[in-house]
Amino acid sequence: MEEQAVQEKKYAVQDYKSDLHNDWCPGCGDFGILTALQNALANLGLAPHQVAVVSGVGCSGKTPHYLNTYGFHTLHGRVLPMATGIKLANREITLVAVGGDGDGYGIGGGQFVAGGRRNLDFTYIIYNNDVYALTKGQASPTVARGKKTKSMPEPSILEPIHPVALALSSGYTFVARGYALDVKHLTGLIQRGIEHRGSALIDVYQTCPTYNDLHSRAWYAGKDRGGKSRIRYLDQMQYDPVVKNPEDAREVAQKKLQALEKAWSADEEVTLGVYYQIRLPTLEENLAQKMPALQDAPLAEQRLWERDIAPLFEELT
């Protein structure tokens, strides 16, 4: 009865806020993402001690400190292996990973790809602002060729990484894009990402008022084109991201192509929403199928040192 009472406890947004003073720049898009994440956790009613937030390094890396959950602020580019280790230790934890675009698509590029392939049940939010802000605004892997933010001495001469395309080919089973300053929409996306069983990637257009003058709040709002907002929403279009039959290779291909087309088409506009979703066995499910004992209790609660190794010795005689 007591456990039930605990489960039924309602949590408010306030329950997910830590007391720590926030040191992001005034007006930073990160605030929008943090708020959306806190809202999503509250809406889902997840107990703070059952949630772990794992980050890399950079401005976004400080996110866990501002949340009253288990918080792991790890290494630059290593969010995904860290998240995987924590989740494997306790599969009942709701795991949210956060990191910047440089962290995820640049230094952590190898980890990003492998992190999708494993299909761990987790949600990965990338704060995508085109720059390495904490080191004062160098080009990140998402800045477009020929473009230059006010913090860059020269325009970029490299082809940018396309997050949706990279995520689709890396095996993420939920691929979405949000906008840091549309907190309501982003809250919904994060909620859907957390509810999705498998690896959910949410790439968030994040404004950096200090270093990125290319993609400012005004740019998204279309101030330069007579106030015609650049933001479009997939759920206001004829667009169904969900693969109905994961066994159907043709449908899978069709849904991926549709996502790519949508992500690439509108140069002057940004399209938000869920691009692709498919239900495939998660890493935890695949492991539990091999080893049913993993379902008995989280590994962190099992007394694994009581194993009988005598048969192993016998095998060697």
Binding site: L20, A47, P48, H49, Q50, A52, V54, V57, K62, P64, H65, N68, T69, Y70, G71, F72, H73, T74, L75, R78, L80, P81, M82, A83, T84, G85, I86, K87, L88, A89, N90, I93, G110, Q111, V113, A114, R118, L287, K290, M291, A293, L294, P298, L299, A300, E301, Q302, R303, L304, W305, E306, R307, I309, A310, P311, L312, F313, E314, L316, T317
Partner: protein, 654 residues
């Protein structure tokens, strides 16, 4: 140190191209000898190659336990010409073959199809046992009704040769049959039958043709005297210790010679269970294991030098977050860079000690033999939990792949200590994950525990786990973390710090670490001088007081390092201020042998300071160029030779 001379041991070697089955033959023979109550030490030398390059597997056999190998060979089984004469088909040959290592009175079994060896084997008084491998195999196939498939079953030449070598030393065939059959499940009984018949034909041929000429016989111990013993490798001992210690997650990226350990765990994971993740790289491997430790489970990763080179950032992270792990197994191989991937070396000591930016606590230990691999790995998880720091265990290729006969390890004395944990029922005020305590240990929590929420960060942090750049906090936190090292040093049992054998009155003290243990123990009984041995196991934090005390009461000292730059000798000098009289080094990628230890001791007695050993002797490095040229000349002056193609197994590519 019971071994008095080389004659107590018999050295049996099988050589041939990789893919020709020498591993199977040697390991079956080792197991058969073990079942007969004999003691075996086995070690393999192989190339970084899948099929075709030369490999040789050596069994050192005795009534008492051999702990090492030696260069001379009593019985050589050659599956190809290269094993006898070297790779003289190469423009730049790399070796002269093994026939020159066969001792007087020893024997060589080879395929008579290679041709006459009488004029090609330099030594006198060596028994040559030419055997028509294919004819004998055909005989076996005739019995099996497959005589017209001799070409398809050529791969089984190794089985015939293996049987013949057992026949040549008059070993009881029933033990061979038992282990061959044991290697096949019931549904593959026909394969077992084939192998038994092939081995028996070789065995009978040898008994008929040669048994009288080789004056060495392996008599099984009487049944009542036979101990139940395993034939176990270093990687297996480490893997089993991990299972016993309750390791929940093992991560790895494939790399020689570490992979065998993870492969063993993967093979057994379903029965335990244990989660194995083959990661995208070693960066991920160390991070995932560190995070799992932070997540509250026992976790480990295994790698070799090139993989370890990717790990320092993760080790520093595990240490500053006081993760409670991981246990990191570093199987050293010949460096630098890719180096010689399948050969041994002990050249990563300095790297392991200094891997990572900043000052942070960690434990670095090295195991000397397979028993220690098991015990030290088991305890490593206790230390990781108790001191909340990464534990680095150093092994090497020689230790990883050697196999020895050993009784099953005693497990009743093994105690699990998971260290200090947050107790929600005794909560008093907010929980502080990095609480500043008297002894530097803060009670741990893990995700999922109500009231135990905490933050962990790779940044310097305060007691809550939030970032702090404050001066007072920095001093307190550094002192807290670094103070765990002297605490560990004062608590870790002495037997895991160092070990000393022999009397203080000994004229010579041999100082060493890691896999040199067995060979030094065996060799110590063979020298005329009185010797004592000091093995250093705990390399960081260094047991400086104890080592200084021992060395300052030693007469003459020699330090044995299987690397170029005498890394242990340098460390001892740094920590104790004491220098060794002689430094023995070996960096040719092969493990140090008994002959090399004896040669080194003789050189030290002559007052040589830096002693390089290789190929059974003290080697003059300045002659290296000439020796390379000599090999090229040898090829030019020798009979033309072709590499032996590796037979393709039946059904291959079909």
């Amino acid at each position: 140190m019971s071994v008095k001379n080389h004659k107590d041991f018999f050295s049996w070697v099988i050589g041939g191209p990789q893919g020709s089955g020498i591993n199977l033959s040697a390991e079956l023979f080792a197991k058969a000898l073990s079942r007969a109550g004999l003691k075996v030490f086995a070690n393999i030398e192989y190339h970084s190659n899948i099929k075709g390059k030369h490999s040789d597997y050596r069994l050192t056999i005795g009534q008492t336990q051999p702990r090492s190998h030696d260069d001379p060979i009593d019985f050589l089984v050659a599956l190809d010409e290269e094993t006898l004469c070297g790779d003289l088909y190469h423009q730049y040959p790399t070796h002269r073959g093994l026939s020159g290592w066969v001792v007087e009175g020893g024997g060589i079994l080879y395929d008579s199809a290679i041709g006459n060896m009488e004029d090609r084997v330099e030594k006198r008084n060596i028994h040559l046992f030419p055997m028509p491998y294919l004819d004998v195999l055909e005989e076996a196939l005739r019995e099996l009704g497959k005589v017209n498939q001799a070409q398809a079953y050529k791969i089984m030449k190794n089985v015939v040769a293996f049987g013949a070598s057992a026949g040549a030393v008059d070993f009881d065939f029933s033990f061979l049959e038992e282990v061959i059959r044991g290697g096949f499940p019931e549904r593959k009984k026909h394969l077992a039958d084939m192998n038994v018949v092939a081995a028996r034909k070789g065995y009978e041929y040898a008994r008929r043709e040669f048994a009288k000429t080789l004056n060495r016989k392996f008599h099984p111990l009487p049944k009542e005297k036979r101990q139940r013993q395993m034939v176990i490798s270093g990687t297996q001992a480490v893997a089993i210790a991990k299972l016993r210690a309750g390791c929940a997650l093992q991560t790895y990226y494939p790399i020689s010679p570490a992979t065998d350990e993870s492969a063993y765990l993967e093979k057994h994971q379903r029965s335990y269970p244990l989660v194995i993740v083959q990661t995208e790289d070693e960066v991920s491997a160390v991070d995932m294991a560190s995070a799992a430790a932070l997540g509250g489970v026992r976790a480990s990763t295994s790698t070799s030098g090139p993989g370890f080179a990717l790990m320092p950032e993760g080790i520093g992270f595990a240490s500053i977050t006081e993760a409670g792990g991981p246990v990191l197994c570093l199987y050293q191989r010949s460096g630098p860079s890719t180096g010689i991937p399948t050969r041994t070396e002990q050249a990563d000591l300095r790297f392991a000690l200094h891997a990572g930016q900043g000052d942070f606590p960690k434990l670095v230990l090295a195991a000397g033999d397979i028993q220690e691999c098991f015990e030290m790995t088991f305890e490593a998880f206790n230390w990781a939990d108790r001191y909340q720091m990464p534990v680095l265990l150093l092994f090497d290729k020689h230790l990883a792949s050697q196999m020895v006969t050993l009784p099953p390890f005693p497990v009743h004395g093994l105690r699990v200590d998971r260290g200090r944990w947050f107790d929600p029922s005794r909560k008093n005020g907010p929980y502080l994950r990095y609480a500043l305590t008297e002894d530097g240990i803060s009670p741990r929590s893990r995700p999922g525990l109500a009231g135990g929420q905490f933050w962990a960060t790779s940044d310097e942090h305060n007691e809550t786990g939030h970032i702090s750049e404050g001066v007072a906090n920095r001093i307190a936190m550094m002192a807290k973390r670094m103070g765990k090292e002297p605490k560990a040093l004062s608590e870790i049992a002495v037997k895991y710090q160092y070990e000393l054998w022999g009397p203080e009155s000994a004229e010579w003290t041999w100082v060493f670490w890691g896999s040199s243990k067995g060979v030094l123990q065996d060799a110590a009984g063979l020298v005329s001088k009185k010797v004592r041995l000091l093995q250093i196991k705990l390399l960081h934090p260094f047991p400086r007081e104890a080592v200084r005390k021992i060395l300052s009461r030693s007469k003459k000292t020699i330090c044995f390092d299987q690397n170029y730059s005498s890394q242990l000798a340098g460390l001892v000098r740094e920590k104790t201020g004491l220098s060794m009289d002689s430094h023995v080094v070996k960096y040719d990628g092969r493990p140090i042998s008994r002959s090399e230890v004896l040669a080194a001791q003789a050189a030290a007695q002559r007052g040589t300071e830096r002693i390089v050993v290789s190929e059974g002797r003290v080697r003059r490095e300045e002659e290296g160029i000439r020796e390379v040229r000599d090999l090229v000349r040898l090829r030019e002056n020798s009979r033309r030779m072709q590499p032996t193609p590796v037979p393709i197994p039946p059904g291959y590519n079909q």
